[in-house]
Symmetry: C2
Subunit: 246 residues, 2 copies
DNA sequence: GCCTGTACCGTACGGTGTACGCCAACGGAA
DNA sequence: TTCCGTTGGCGTACACCGTACGGTACAGGC
C-alpha cells in the first residue's frame, strides 16, 4: 500500500498538523475523516478519490493539493484509526500483570479491527510509522517491560500476539464483507454450500476431515468462527509465553 | 474474493476436470496456469483477464467461455496452488509425533506462501473448498487425530497454527512486494527511513519503544523479520499446545 | 449440403488513479 | 490603488480494469 511513496514526504505528512486550511477550508484532516467514514460504511474500495471529494463537496483533483496520492491517504487513514486505540487514560501497562496486559492489548486491537473492517486491507508492506503507530508500539511494549524478557523477546512476543489478532480479525473482516456483498449470512451460505459440497465429495474419502468438519460446522453453523479462534488462540499463546518466562 | 459467485456453480467448476478443450484448444487448466505464472512473476494485480488472454494468445472475452469471471478464476488459482502442498508421499501425519507433524505442516504452508506470494491476497472471505483445500484439511487434521484432543480442539489448534503462518507469510509477502515495487531493499529503506523518523520523533518521548525498536532493528537491519517471527511464534504456540494436552 | 448450437472475440460502458494545464483568488510590492 | 507572481482549486484526458452485449464462424447432427 505505502509502496511507491517517498518515505520522507510521507513521514512529514503523517507527523504534520493536518489542520491548516486552504482557500476553501479544505484540510488534510477533513479528507482523511471523509475517507474513513466511507471505508467504515462500505469498505475500503468505496474510499475512492472521486467519492471522497464528492463527500466533502470539492473537485476530485483538489485532494491532490493536500495529499500526494492514494497511498499516502491510506497511510493517514491507518494512523488515524490507530489513534483510537489507547486514547486517554487506558494504559495497557496498568492492567495488572503481563498476562492481563497482553490480553487487554489483544482485545483493544481486536476491537479496533472490528470497528474499522478496512484497517487490515489498508496495511501490509512497509509499516506506516506515524505518530499513533509509534505511540501504540510504546504503550504495548510497556506491558512486557521488566518481566525478565530481553528486548528482542519483548518485540517478538508482542509481534506474535498482534499477528494472531490480525489473522483472526482479517478472517472476521473477510466473512463480514462476504456477507455484505452476497447478502447471505454465514448460516445461509453454509446451508446452501454444505449439501453441494457433500454431493461433490462423494466417491472421495476424507474420514477425519468429514468428522471434524461436521463437528465444528454444527457448533459454529458456519465454516469458521473468528471470535472463538481469537479467544482459543490467545489462551494457547499466553500459556506458551508463560513457559518462555519459566 | 469469492464473494459474488454462486456456490454451486463455483464448486462444480472447482471439482471439474479442467482439461476438456474447446475449438482452439483452450482449457480451464491452461487459463489457470497462465494466471498463476503471471501472478508468480509480477503479483496478483498482473493477472488481469486481458494479460492472461494475451499470454495464451486468445481474445480476452474467450476466457469467459470457460470461466464465469475473475472471482472464480481466483478460486481456481488458489486451489491449484494448494495442490502443491502435500503431493505424493509426504504425509504430515507420518512425521513423528504431533509436534513434529505440526511443525511440518507449518513449514509446508510457509513454503507454499513464499513460492506464491499472491496466495494470501487471493484468499479471504468464504473459504474456497476445492478438492485440494479439502485434501489439505484432511492431511493436516490427521496429525492431531488420536492424541487426546476433542474434534473441536483439533480444528482450533490447526486453525491457530495456520493463522500464525498466514500472518507472518503475509508480512513477508508485503515486504517482498514493497521491495519489488520500490526497488529498495529492506536495508535500503530502513537506512533511508530511520534518520527521518528519529528527527521527526525528537521532542516526543518513547523510552521503551526507542530502546526495543533500536535493538531489534539493529539485529534485523529492518523494521521486522518475518522468518524470525515464524520460528519464534511457532515455538511458543507449540509450547502452549503442549500445556493444553497436559 | 444444410442447420443449429456454441466457441470465440471486437466493441463499448462505467469504473479506477492521476498527469497536465487553465483559471481565479490571494499576498505583497510599487 | 494597481499590478503581478504564487498557489489553491478543478476540468479534461489517458491508460487501465472487469465484463455485458452482439456478431462471426466453425463443428457436429441430419
Amino acid at each position: 500500500m505505502s509502496a511507491k511513496s517517498d518515505p520522507g514526504r510521507s513521514l512529514a505528512l503523517l507527523w504534520g498538523s493536518h489542520t491548516r486550511p486552504g482557500r476553501s477550508g479544505l484540510t488534510v484532516r477533513a479528507i482523511v475523516d471523509a475517507a474513513i467514514e466511507l471505508a467504515d460504511a462500505e469498505g475500503l474500495d468505496a474510499a475512492t478519490m472521486r467519492r471522497v471529494a464528492d463527500k466533502i463537496g470539492v473537485g476530485t483533483m483538489s485532494l491532490y493539493t493536500h495529499v500526494p496520492g492514494k497511498a499516502e491517504l491510506n497511510d493517514l487513514m491507518v494512523d488515524t484509526a490507530l489513534g483510537e486505540l489507547y486514547t486517554g487514560v487506558d494504559d495497557p501497562a496498568g492492567h495488572g500483570g503481563w498476562r492481563e496486559g497482553l490480553r487487554y492489548v489483544a482485545e483493544r486491537n481486536w476491537d479496533v479491527c472490528l470497528r474499522h473492517l478496512w484497517l487490515l486491507d489498508a496495511t501490509g508492506g512497509r509499516p506506516t510509522l506515524g505518530p499513533n503507530a509509534v505511540l501504540k508500539y510504546e504503550a504495548e511494549l510497556r506491558v512486557l517491560d521488566g518481566i525478565g524478557l530481553t528486548d528482542l523477546q519483548m518485540d517478538s512476543v508482542l509481534t506474535l500476539v498482534l499477528t494472531h489478532v490480525e489473522g483472526v480479525a482479517r478472517s472476521h473482516a473477510g466473512l463480514a464483507r462476504a456477507q455484505r456483498d452476497s447478502g447471505l449470512t454465514e448460516q445461509d451460505w453454509w446451508r446452501a454450500t454444505a449439501p453441494v459440497l457433500e454431493r461433490v465429495m462423494t466417491g472421495h474419502d476424507f474420514p477425519v476431515a468429514g468428522r471434524v468438519g461436521e463437528a465444528s460446522s454444527q457448533v459454529y453453523q458456519a465454516s469458521a468462527d473468528p471470535a472463538h479462534a481469537f479467544a482459543f488462540g490467545l489462551d494457547v499463546i499466553l500459556d506458551g509465553v508463560q513457559r518462555l518466562l519459566d
